[in-house]
């Protein structure tokens, strides 16, 4: 088992004819991902590495289940709405720096369609030895029983690598995405890992800002029986420039590494001091 994607997932790549799209399509296929089609408006009828390119998601609705988006930020809203309306699920948005107002619309539409969005600005999702929809370096992953959820991209690789080197393979690894507004969060994914037979423990990688980790801690107390191991980046970061009065009014004192670590510890989650400490904490938990 794994969560969200596996060997049966048929993937369409939106923006397949761009540099990143082309490169990562090849790398994803090498990992075993079943990439069935690409979409680039105006380039329909062509192909990339033998994969047929279409003008629209509508034309691939019967062929594909899930979409990964590489199109530039100004066009990402349109691509994502097209994927959602075409029934793709999940929709993985690699594109970074999408305007906030666009992301708000994307997430709202996704909720009303029941679509799971991963990202934007995510390294993607990878179910080890089954399917990769993302840009992570494939060779660091190893099949196993650890689920991993991360707000950070490259830090995820760091920790996956540490786990794999310590013979701790993974079920599924998910990057939530680094943009201010993203789709799936810790809570939805914790529930999926809780329900997944193969997953024995979950590693949760957070960072300063927002209150997602605090909410996750609360959720774990109530609903998650599997061991969770945490790491929070930004312990030594200087306090960021706040966004006018409004930022302070909305977020209050939440968002510091200290607050997050305390919240997680209060839910009996072991917190690593540095990424390299995580494998030991995992081993002692399972």
């Amino acid at each position: 088992m794994a969560i969200i994607i596996d060997e049966s997932t048929r993937v369409v790549v939106q923006g397949i004819t761009g540099g990143q799209g082309k490169f990562h399509t090849r790398v994803m296929r090498e990992y075993g991902t079943n990439v069935v089609a690409g979409v680039t408006p105006g380039k329909g009828g062509g192909e990339v590495d033998g994969i047929p390119v279409y003008d629209s998601i509508r034309e691939v609705m019967e062929l594909a289940d899930a979409s990964i988006i590489f199109v530039p930020a100004p066009f990402a809203r349109d691509a994502a709405l097209e994927a959602i309306s075409g029934g793709m699920d999940p929709v993985v948005i690699i594109t970074e720096h999408i305007p906030v107002h666009d992301s708000i619309e994307i997430m709202d539409r996704a909720v009303s369609h029941g679509t799971r969005i991963i990202g934007p600005n995510t390294p993607g999702i990878l179910s080890a030895d089954k399917c990769k929809m993302g840009v992570m370096p494939s060779h660091i992953f190893k099949k196993g029983s650890i689920g991993l959820i991360s707000r950070s991209g490259t830090l995820t690789y760091e920790i996956v690598d540490a786990l794999s080197r310590n013979a701790l393979g993974q079920t599924t690894t998910v990057g939530l995405g680094g943009d201010p507004i993203v789709g799936l969060g810790f809570i939805e994914l914790l529930d999926l890992f809780e329900a997944d037979n193969e997953t024995e423990a979950v590693v949760l990688i957070g960072e300063i800002g927002g209150n997602a980790e605090e909410l996750a801690a609360e959720h774990i107390k109530q609903n998650i029986s599997k061991p969770v191991i945490g790491y929070i980046a930004g312990r030594t970061a200087p306090p960021g420039k706040t966004m006018g009065h409004a930022g302070a009014i909305i977020s209050g004192s939440a968002g510091t590494a200290k607050a997050k670590i305390e919240a997680l510890q209060s839910a009996n989650i072991k917190i690593a001091e540095k990424p390299g400490d995580i494998p030991e904490l995992v081993k002692s938990s399972i």
Partner: protein, 377 residues
């Protein structure tokens, strides 16, 4: 991108929000005459300028000119005053001060509207001590215009009545228009003054524009001078599109991805070092980006070592390696590199005599030793 008060007020006025009449001056000589007593407000992008002496008053042109002389010599939280907004001074005796604001709400994935009858400089204190005094409303995601009735419901909730209630609600709708039209992540009026004779006017104005939406807000970039908000090094970093925050220490840190860079800072600290900066080259960085990143961190004086921590996903290690060898850093470098095209990257670096770590912790420790002189350079 934060907008100056004067610019935000221009936008508010375009939307029909009442603001005091005023002119922007860039030097005392630009003020020719006064029709009425004025407030002289330093245009700096930091809070607390009032307490720092950045807001003054004058009744006649001579006083005004000498106040301007003073203000243009002032530094507020390190920022030189380069522009002053000279505005009609209002009679605020007995006036009520409201707070009106909209902000992107990451957790709710929408815009949250806020209104309070306890506006003014203490609003943050109100927020933490009497949060019930601030009415908050999460708006329907994707809303393009705020429905007047929703604005009125908020105005009623903060205790307004009659024509004042409907007028404030109307201003709230216009403020939302300003937010939407200009891709703002924050728009606020604090305070919105209601004078004792019933005049309603926005005496301060704040807007932050979504940096990610500047491609479609180019007109706002026209008269923006970033030299004020940022140090010379930060300006260079912004020019290159690099995320850079200046810190106090002597070990430069460059990485790809904010999380990894933050973890790198934390690890440097764990080993007793002091980071000189936060620099994220971003995802998919090219050799050119990497060269620019090195150029930026090297601008800082007293740098002892550079910690480069790359775990390539969308970023390719060979690009990073080419950037490093092309720049040829003069300062001792602790280098860690893994991920996409790792072998190609390591090959390039080794050919140029660089030693590359696999472990982030080991490399951080090495960077600290380099800085302290324990390791040879």
């Amino acid at each position: 991108m934060k907008l100056h008060e004067y610019k935000a007020k221009e936008i508010f006025a375009e939307q029909g929000i009442p603001v005091p009449s005023g002119i922007l001056v860039k030097g005392p000589e630009q003020l020719k005459e006064l029709q009425h007593p004025v407030a002289l407000k330093s245009q700096v992008l930091v809070g607390g300028r009032g307490k720092a002496g950045g807001i003054k008053f004058a009744d006649n042109i001579d006083d005004a000119k000498s106040v301007l002389e003073e203000l243009f010599k002032l530094k507020i939280k390190g920022l030189a005053v380069k522009q002053v907004l000279v505005e009609e001074k209002l009679d605020l005796e007995g006036a009520q001060e409201l707070y009106l604001g909209f902000v992107e709400d990451r957790a709710a994935k929408t815009i949250t509207a806020m209104m309070s009858a306890a506006g003014g400089i203490d609003i943050e204190q109100v927020a933490s001590e009497m949060p019930e005094k601030i009415i908050k409303k999460q708006l329907q995601p994707g809303l393009k215009t705020l429905n007047p009735y929703e604005a009125r419901e908020m105005a009623i909730q903060i205790g307004l009545k009659g024509a004042t209630m409907t007028k404030v609600a109307d201003i709230m709708c216009k403020l939302f228009n300003a937010m939407i039209v200009h891709d703002a992540v924050l728009a606020e009026i604090n305070p919105l003054v209601i004078t004792k004779d019933g005049m309603i006017i926005a005496t301060d104005a704040k807007m932050n524009i979504d940096d990610n939406a500047l491609f479609r807000q180019k007109n706002l970039l026209k008269d923006v001078d970033i030299s004020e908000e940022y140090t010379p090094i930060e300006q260079k970093a912004r020019k290159y599109g690099l995320a850079y925050v200046e810190l106090e220490g002597d070990i430069a840190v460059i990485g790809c991805g904010a999380g990894l860079v933050m973890a790198s800072l934390d690890t440097i600290k764990l080993y007793g070092g002091e980071p000189a900066n936060f620099l994220d080259v971003g995802g998919g960085a090219t050799a050119e980006n990497m060269k620019q990143a090195l150029e930026v961190v090297a601008m800082k004086d007293n740098l002892k070592s550079i910690f480069i921590n790359i775990f390539g996903g969308i970023t390719r290690c060979d690009e990073i390696a080419n950037g490093i060898v092309e720049f040829e850093p003069k300062i001792p470098i602790a280098l860690r590199m893994m991920g996409t095209n790792e072998d190609e990257g390591k090959k390039i670096l080794k050919e140029h005599g660089y030693n590359v770590f696999d472990s982030m912790e080991d490399c951080a420790e090495y960077a600290v030793k380099l800085a302290s002189g324990e390791e040879g350079r």
